[in-house]
């Protein structure tokens, strides 16, 4: 009986310890896929953590392969100025600067998924409107990131946005 109780206590402690670990910067780590497989925006995020520093790598929808946005400048945010970022981070912010535009991602955990708010600001006086979008990401099986990395910048993704079939149709009319 004593052994059983000890085992149960050990399991409980392990579970508590695991759930504590989940509420941390580590919960952002991994490869994430947009739950909307038809998205015209961000398709994949790959997030790694080094100490209290996040690294966010993003890919946008392109054909035939997604466009590699590279790694953005990323920061983690805790609930309080004296909180420990590693164990209490609640949000990440990542900025991708493609020159003609700048996309800022605000990433928050949502259960075992990620909620990502994306804000794209155009700096090229093209007349395009800055736009916001909202996506949900789920953990994906490890991607062969090395094979996806290309020299293509977010520009390709925006071009893609402009030639979506529905846009062409509107333009043709």
């Amino acid at each position: 009986m004593k052994i059983f109780l000890s085992l149960a206590t050990a399991c409980l402690l392990l579970l508590i310890s695991l759930s504590t670990c989940t509420a941390s910067l580590a919960q952002f780590a991994g490869d994430w896929s947009n739950v909307d497989t038809n998205t015209g925006g961000i398709t994949t995020l790959s997030i790694s953590i080094s100490g209290a520093s996040p690294n966010v790598h993003a890919w946008g929808k392109c054909h035939p392969t997604d466009c590699d946005w590279g790694a953005g400048t990323a920061f983690a945010f805790a609930p309080d100025v004296s909180s420990d970022l590693s164990s209490q981070a609640q949000a990440l912010m990542a900025v991708f600067d493609a020159g003609f535009s700048e996309t800022t991602l605000f990433i928050k955990p949502q259960g075992n998924r990620l909620s990502v708010q994306s804000y794209t600001l155009f700096k090229d006086n093209s007349g395009r409107s800055n736009y916001a979008s909202s996506d949900v990401f789920q953990k994906s099986s490890p991607i062969s990131a090395a094979g996806m990395i290309a020299e293509i910048q977010p520009l390709k993704q925006f071009n893609k946005l402009e030639v979506l079939p529905i846009m062409r149709k509107i333009g043709d009319n």
Partner: protein
């Protein structure tokens, strides 16, 4: 009967037009106050809209008057790349940079209120953690407050509000630090505050402490500048300076330390 239908259709159209007018960048315009009057963060926002452009002025909690962050140009975002910002803006992002920190406000409408997420990032290597906070704002009751654009340039900074950063010259409200505090160095600190002067005695253990120290400091705004020294109840004998930030009435955070002081955060 036809006349009645025409009248109803006209009224309906009028209502739809009025609603459409509200669902754009104009819906952000105005003077907004935090629904939480006890917030230690952002207390007020003034948003001025001209065409597709918006300016945001923020105030953070300070005593005796709130700290003016100044006015910045905000960026408006719509739902799509070809949306009309004027009629379709759903988010404003305002960026305040007082030098030692950066604050990014993501402002969205929520009914007739504003939902604001504030992301504070420190650039001063002070060891303070970047933090995120969420606020809800409602339209200010009377337009008697400061008008948009009326801010004093060079006003106090976003990171300077409690609990974010240091703001010399502002005094956090209702501060009385007298009491027994715990620190992340494992020690217990017995603090006495008399007006703007603070003393403490701190020790690791009441019986056989490895270290024990005394401190005397002066409060200026939400900053305490202090000298400290170990005393021979413990065995370690060091001394130095401390700069502490009064994050709240129940929290102190070390901004800088010399002499090998171990503690960084005090709470009670």
């Amino acid at each position: 009967m036809r006349l009645l239908h025409s009248c109803l259709a006209a009224v309906l159209l009028l209502l739809l037009t009025a609603n459409a007018g509200l669902a754009g960048i104009d819906q952000f315009a105005g003077s907004w106050t935090n629904v939480d009057p006890n917030t230690s963060g952002i207390t007020k926002l003034d948003i001025a809209v001209m065409g597709t452009s918006a300016q945001v002025q923020g105030w953070g909690k300070c005593h005796p008057t709130d700290c003016d962050w100044g006015t910045v140009q905000a960026q408006a975002f719509a739902s799509g790349v070809s949306s009309d910002i004027l009629s379709g803006a759903n988010t404003l992002i305002a960026f305040f940079d007082p030098g030692f920190s950066e604050t990014t406000l993501v402002i969205k409408t929520a009914g007739n209120r504003l939902k604001v997420d504030s992301y504070d990032r420190f650039k001063d290597n002070s060891g303070r953690s970047n933090y995120v906070a969420s606020y809800t704002f409602q339209k200010a009751q009377a337009p008697g407050g400061t008008t948009p654009g009326g801010a004093t340039p060079g006003g106090q900074s976003p990171g300077g509000m409690s609990p974010g950063g240091a703001t010399p010259g502002s005094v956090p409200a209702l501060i009385d630090l007298t009491g027994v505090w715990n620190c992340d160095d494992g020690g217990k600190y017995y603090v006495r505050q008399l007006e703007k002067t603070v003393w403490w005695y701190g020790e690791l253990d009441p019986n056989a402490p490895n270290w024990s120290n005394v401190m005397r400091g002066t409060i200026s705004g939400d900053i305490i500048k202090a000298d400290w020294t170990d005393v021979p109840k413990g065995s370690i004998m060091q001394y130095g300076n401390l700069v502490l930030q009064i994050a709240s009435n129940n929290k102190l955070v070390a901004i800088s330390k010399t002499g090998g002081f171990g503690g960084s955060v005090w709470t009670r």
